[in-house]
Amino acid sequence: MLDDAAIIRLSLTEPERFEVLFQRHAPTIQRYLVRRLGADAADDIVSETFLLAFRQRGGYDTARGNVLPWLYGIATHLLGRHRRDEIRLYRALARTGIDPVVAPFTDQVDERVTATAASRRLASALAGLPAAYRDALLLVAWGGLSYEETATALDVPVGTVRSRISRARADLRRTLGDLAPASTEETR
């Protein structure tokens, strides 16, 4: 199987090869976007992310190998135009205990997922985080990126990522209060 970098190299002369990257990574990017913006907006942004990546593939450093940080970076950048929608979803979860992302269009209200108290407080804390902190934190927590990959995605120094995540986690712990876990150990 060709790795991501090889596909990008090939796609410079055979553009249709780029679709392999869509098949390979779109579900992952989509889940990240759905979690942050809900299914509808994610639908739009996931295709736009890959089209933008396709357009910019000539500038991609194929020595990097894994394209996920690059794709997450594009998706996060596009997501920036929907900050208000994202915050609205967190606030809705914090306020109602119903996660609008998980079951967005069902009319079976009673069957919808009811969030735990911790999830509600977590959502409230996410809504209150500065956007840059939230981006860094969620690329790690929801994107599964390392600090170095997050720095690549956001195009900032890794030290900046560390400090943003540290502050974001402190904010989260503060909001979680008595529901906060005992461990505050940095895991990455």
Partner: protein
């Protein structure tokens, strides 16, 4: 379990699935457009604008194009059927069609053609932006409305004096603040419901959409035992009343659209037909334990409210002209066929 684990758990509630057919098609169309023969001769500089677009603009365009072309943009829960009729232009004033078409829905799931699902949030953004571009109106401004109202006939065993009329188009006049309501026909009550907030107190409403929802819910259910359905129904009904009974300040109208989109379960749907046969885009509160489906239909061109309706999932089907069944038809609906500011009561535009 630390906060990162809690976050991961939240993420894991979203299943890892392939993008929707619409998203896949959008990507492939974009890729084909960029690599196909017709584009190969174009420079990269010319190609860029076609690939780089604002989701909001794209959303508005998709909604408008989808509705105007009479094709379904949204694939959402069951409701009234998608129509193939064209939208009526409503630039500036509300719709001017006077066609008193009967309800013609035939139920069934909407068929996604463009495959682009737009959210209530997107519709709220577009509608709010349009509302903010409208001029403010004095509370004492006379407003003429031509209103088409409909209520489903009740069974024959109900005493005639309690029967609702079916269709009735009438001229009405009122002041922008909802006072001095006057009609050439019979006053049957405000179909959108009487507003729960007096016009004079609109300025005290919270500006934040979430707080606005909470305020409206608390009006009806101040106790601690209100269910999600109780609250959502109160919020949606409360907003319907405000949007239809007054000519609101533009800023409040915009906030109400955002508040609608913030109600859990509310979704947006295009290609919804009103009783006058016009096609619009709608905010819909799905049927729940407290209410039948409720909808507020907006013009697809200027995003003003053109109708509000409620209907029951699976209920009220009628024979259509071809002998088949159509439905579900609304339980009740009012459509604003025309609206204009006039110099006084009884004056026509």
């Amino acid at each position: 379990m630390n906060e990162l684990d809690l976050l991961t758990r939240l993420r894991d509630e979203v299943p890892l699935t392939a993008p929707s057919p619409g998203a896949q098609r959008a990507f492939r169309d974009g890729l084909t457009g960029a690599t196909g023969p017709s584009r190969r001769t174009r420079s990269r500089h010319r190609l860029r604008p076609s690939l780089s677009f604002s989701p909001l603009l794209a959303g508005a365009t998709a909604l408008a194009v989808g509705v105007t072309a009479g094709i379904v943009v949204l694939a959402l829960p069951s409701g009234r059927e998608p129509s193939t009729a064209s939208a009526t232009g409503t630039t500036g004033a509300r719709a001017t069609s006077t066609a008193a078409a009967k309800p013609t829905g035939t139920g069934g799931a909407a068929v996604p053609v463009l495959g682009t699902t737009k959210s209530a949030q997107l519709l709220a953004d577009v509608a709010a932006n349009r509302a903010l571009s409208q001029p403010a109106v004095k509370p004492s401004q006379w407003v003429y409305r031509k209103v088409d109202t409909y209520r489903a006939p009740l069974p024959s065993f109900i005493d005639a004096k309690f029967k609702w009329r079916t269709y009735n188009v009438e001229n009405t006049w009122m002041m922008a603040d909802g006072s001095h309501y006057y009609t050439t026909g019979t006053f049957w009550g405000l179909m959108g419901g009487f507003p729960t907030v007096p016009y004079s107190q609109l300025g005290t409403l919270p500006a934040n959409p979430v707080a606005l929802d909470a305020y409206l819910a608390h009006q009806q259910y101040p106790g601690p035992n209100a269910t999600t359905a109780n609250k959502a129904t109160s919020e949606f009904s409360g907003i319907t009343g405000l949007l239809t009974a007054y000519v609101l300040p533009p800023k409040l109208t915009a906030e109400l659209y955002h508040a609608l989109a913030d109600i859990p379960t509310v979704y947006a749907k295009s290609n919804v037909k009103d009783i006058a046969g016009r096609v619009g885009v709608a905010f819909i509160l799905p049927q729940n334990g407290q209410s039948v489906n409720q909808e507020i239909i907006l013009s697809p061109t200027d995003y003003q409210v053109i109708a509000n309706a409620d209907w029951e999932t699976g209920g009220h089907w009628v024979r259509n002209k071809t002998g088949g069944w159509s439905g579900p038809v609304p339980l009740s609906e009012q459509a604003f066929l025309a609206e204009a500011f006039v110099s006084g009561k009884g004056k026509l535009p």
